[in-house]
């Protein structure tokens, strides 16, 4: 009479165990109390003893599989005895990827209606919804020590991370102070291999936010006496998006900035005339920035390579100009986009940008208003900045920084020096996509067009 040996219950909280290693094989004689396999729970490693005597007729699971407690794991009977159909093992051992799929399907229906055999179903519940590539015990050890399991070398069955892999990864790590341990458990933090306490002990101050190691900011903290109270704010929202986009920009492009000054006399006088113009024309609010946007939109049509996206394996060049312009909002930096800027008159650009900037500042800008740019302008001139190095708005290949207007000495035909107002322009290009000389040609043309902005308006 065949008897099933069950995966024993390990206290109240353990729902399943992973069979690490079979100690018996089919056909082996076995007595009560013999160890049949080694299994790992989330709390310990256990040896499962046989509760029956005779011959091992069938192992119902392969090593590495997770078995719910109180499920049969092997069948013991008399030699040559047939194994009953109900305890037959699944035809194919479920590999971890299949298991993931099974979990997903099982999750929708707790008790599957079709149950060809109980074993197949029970394997399907493996992992109780967790990450199947790490055993619960290994996960518990790793999280108590605050180590990232992603980099660990799995040596468990089917490429699973098991306790010994975590312990291996913990080698050479210094202990955590009691307070640091507590902080790790309560907050999403990670411990470095070595801290700044005695003997390299990891202190609370050494803990970094989980995942921070992958960003540019989460470095191992150094002991520093910060003066006075310190406040900490979680990076989220616009700040988080900006941080990621700026870092991506620097990390994935070859940024190269060139500076030039454009004669701003006509620009200034034009602006002055707008300001004092008949209110009915609606030009009084046209700003220097609007005029620069207009000049960029007109100039860039002659330099299509500047109106492009660099996508690694291809470059996408656009016929029309969707011109982004950076806006300082209470939430942080936003870049609304004036669509078809090249088709618009100066007044139309001015009106559209004002509308977009106001919505951005009020937090009402729609995603469509903030995407789809082909070139960006950022202006710090009003804040007294002369020139600067703008950061590319990837995948755009160029960004123009606009500085303030200042007087520059210029030698005239008679050899006399006169002071003429100039506006600072800083062009950052992605050298992957655009070379220095073509970039300079564009900037040069832009300077000329700004100097003769009155003529440009006729085009």
């Amino acid at each position: 009479m065949a008897t099933e040996v069950l995966m024993p219950k390990q206290g109240n909280s353990v729902e399943s165990c992973i069979i690490l290693d079979w100690r018996v094989k089919e056909g082996d004689p076995i007595s009560i109390g013999d160890v049949v396999c080694e299994a790992e729970t989330d709390k310990s490693t256990i040896e499962v003893e046989s509760t029956a005597a005779g011959t091992v007729l069938k192992l119902l699971f392969a090593a590495g599989e997770e078995v719910p407690v109180m499920q049969p794991i092997l069948v013991v009977g008399e030699k040559g005895e047939k194994v009953a159909a109900t305890t037959a093992p699944p035809e194919k051992p479920v590999d971890s990827q299949d298991a993931t799929a099974t979990v997903a399907s099982v999750a929708t229906a707790e008790v599957p209606k079709q149950q060809p055999d109980p074993v197949a179903t029970s394997t399907g519940t493996a992992g109780s919804g967790g990450d199947l590539h790490i055993s619960p015990r290994a996960r518990a050890v790793a999280s108590a020590a605050g180590v990232d399991t992603v980099t660990m070398v799995p040596t468990g069955p089917k490429g699973r991370i098991i306790e010994r892999d975590v312990l291996e990864a913990l080698k050479g790590r210094e202990p955590l102070s009691p307070a640091a341990k507590e902080a790790l458990v309560n907050q999403a933090l990670q411990a470095p291999a070595q801290g700044t306490g005695i003997g390299g002990r990891v202190l609370v101050a050494d803990l970094a936010s989980a995942g921070a190691g992958k960003s540019t900011t989460g470095q191992l903290s150094v002991p520093t006496d910060f003066p006075g109270p310190v406040s900490e704010v979680v990076v989220k929202g616009v700040r988080k998006v900006t941080a990621k986009r700026m870092h991506d920009s620097i990390a994935t492009t070859a940024q190269f900035t060139m500076n030039a000054y454009a004669d701003a006399s006509v620009l200034q006088s034009l602006r002055a005339r707008f300001k004092s113009s008949d209110p009915e024309l609606g030009l009084q609010k046209v700003t220097i920035n609007d005029i620069i946007l207009f000049a960029v939109a007109k100039t860039i049509r002659q330099f299509p390579y500047m109106n492009s996206h660099f996508l690694g394996d291809k470059m996408r060049t656009f016929e029309h100009v969707h011109l982004g312009c950076a806006v300082d909002t209470p939430k942080g930096l936003l870049v609304p986009v004036v669509k078809y800027a090249d088709n618009r008159s100066l007044k139309q650009i001015s009106d559209e940008f004002k509308r977009l900037a106001a919505m951005s500042i009020e937090g009402k800008a729609q995603p469509d208003d903030l995407t789809g740019g082909t070139f960006t302008v950022t202006n710090l001139g009003a804040m007294g900045i002369d020139t600067f190095t703008p950061v590319l708005n990837v995948p755009e290949v160029a960004i123009l920084g606009v500085g303030g207007i200042s007087m520059r000495a210029v030698e005239d035909a008679e050899g006399d020096f006169t002071f003429i107002p100039h506006i600072g322009l800083s062009l950052t290009i992605d050298h992957q996509a655009v070379d220095g000389a073509p970039g300079a040609r564009f900037l040069n043309a832009l300077c000329r067009n700004i100097a003769t902005i009155d003529l440009l308006m006729a085009l």
Binding site: S177, A179, E182, T196, V204
Partner: protein, 450 residues
């Protein structure tokens, strides 16, 4: 030219420890000292003052022990014998250091070091070459140019240790550790002592309520706080009091203990970055010049012998040992060996508040402690205060006033360095009866639960 792995200039607790540790790691080390092995600590600081203070404590105990059943008659204080004991202590320790240098194969050269460059130091006519250089030249008592500072009866902590006769009265200018210890000593042996301190309280590193109690307990000492010394004459000290009124103080001897200055003269050739407090170093004690390190008082970071020794170990460890060590200053214990004794480690309540931390504190009286009561009675002063983080309950500071404080405070350093929480220390067993139990009682006073 003789070449060394390491040249150490200055044989105080920074320099000789650096030499000893590097020597024990098999490095060739040259130690240069212009005066005595052991530096200020062994010869004019920690050690001689402890010797004298202990003799003063014994004298006081002999005078006051009748209530405990010990009747001593015609008890006198013999300065010559006390000085001789002090001298013997110094010489024994000095020869001990000499032995340590020998057993660790450290070459010792007595003389004034001339710094040629980062790798060359000259003593007399001999130039020595070293791959690395540790500057451990220490500090000297600061003597501000107050009118009369150069009078014969104005002394610093150096000269006062070799007086041959006790003065009838002593004015101590400066109520820091040095001033308070000498005031305690002299008042204990019957000298009329006054302390003139510019700040509103003595012992700036001490918790405010402790400093107040300390003053109250130093019964023979007159305190003039918030007072600025304007001049010194043959008869005493003139100062303006807290209200701005000019005052006079009669004194046969004047001790100048207003602070210490780093010994940085002669370092010019090294082109070191030297700030007001001393040679600028990072937390690995590196100066702005590669291969040149500065440990101890000369960098002004923490003017304590044990800080200097630890700094030396950090440097030697990073150079030749397991490496990757940094100097930490947040758990360096200090002690004042007066009568009463006091010690502290970590943050005071005020410092913690200034840092914007949310804290919990408790202060307990030592008279509730068995051993303290048995040995000192219910009138004696003794306090223990613990400062802990309000949320994590990590111990941030421990402050003690009373006997054995200096011997107990290392425990607080262990707790703070290990970032132990109150509940962790509650699990540690303290010996009974001992004054140290006061610390555990204070922890329970903050957190009653088990």
């Amino acid at each position: 030219m003789e070449k060394f792995d390491l040249i150490v200039v200055g044989a105080g607790p920074g320099g000789y420890v650096a030499a000893e540790r590097a020597g024990s790691l098999g490095k060739s080390v040259l130690l240069i000292e212009r005066d005595q092995l052991g530096g200020v600590c062994t010869n004019w600081g920690c050690i001689p003052t402890k010797s004298l203070l202990n003799s003063a404590k014994l004298y006081r105990h002999a005078l006051e022990s009748e209530k405990m059943g010990v009747r001593a008659e015609s008890v006198t204080y013999d300065l010559d014998a006390a000085m001789a004991w002090k001298q013997e202590t110094i010489e024994t320790l000095r020869s001990g250091i000499q032995f340590l240098m020998k057993s660790n194969k450290v070459a010792v050269v007595m003389g004034v070091a001339e710094f040629v460059d980062a790798n060359h130091v000259k003593v007399g006519d001999t130039v020595y070459e070293g791959s690395d250089l540790i500057i451990a030249t220490g500090s000297s008592p600061a003597v501000p140019p107050i009118p009369g500072h150069d009078l014969a009866h104005v002394v610093t902590s150096n000269e006062i240790l070799s007086i041959e006769k006790l003065p009838a009265s002593l004015a101590v200018i400066g109520g820091g550790v040095i001033g308070v210890e000498f005031a305690s000593y002299f008042s204990s042996v019957g000298v009329k002592v006054s302390i003139v301190e510019m700040m509103d309280e003595i012992l700036p590193m001490m918790d405010a309520e402790f400093a107040k109690l300390m003053r109250r307990e130093m019964k023979g000492v007159e305190f003039h706080l918030g007072c600025k010394v304007t001049g010194i004459t043959e008869d005493g000290v003139s100062y303006t009091d807290a209200k701005g009124n000019p005052q006079q103080l009669a004194a046969e001897m004047v001790l100048m203990s207003v602070g210490r200055r780093p010994n940085v003269a002669g370092l010019e050739n090294l082109h070191l970055d030297i700030a007001r407090g001393g040679i600028v170093v990072d937390d690995r004690l590196r100066t702005n010049v590669p291969n040149v390190y500065a440990v101890g008082d000369v960098n002004g970071k923490s003017l304590l012998a044990h800080s200097a020794s630890r700094m030396a170990e950090v440097v030697v460890s990073n150079l030749y040992g397991a490496g990757n060590q940094r100097m930490r200053y947040h758990a360096i214990p200090w002690a004042v060996y007066g009568l009463p004794e006091a010690a502290g480690c970590g943050l005071t309540e005020n410092e913690a508040k200034k840092q914007g931390r949310e804290i919990v504190t408790a202060t307990t009286q030592m008279r509730a402690n068995g051993r303290f009561l048995a040995e000192h009675g219910k009138r004696a002063a003794g306090l223990c205060k613990v400062v802990a983080d309000a949320k994590t309950k990590v111990i941030l500071g421990v402050h003690l006033l009373g006997p054995y404080s200096s011997e107990m405070i290392f425990g607080a350093a262990v707790m703070i360095e290990s970032e132990l929480r109150i509940k962790d220390v509650k699990e540690i067993v303290f010996p009974h009866p001992s004054v140290s139990e006061i610390l555990k009682d204070t922890l329970f006073a903050i957190e009653h639960t088990l």
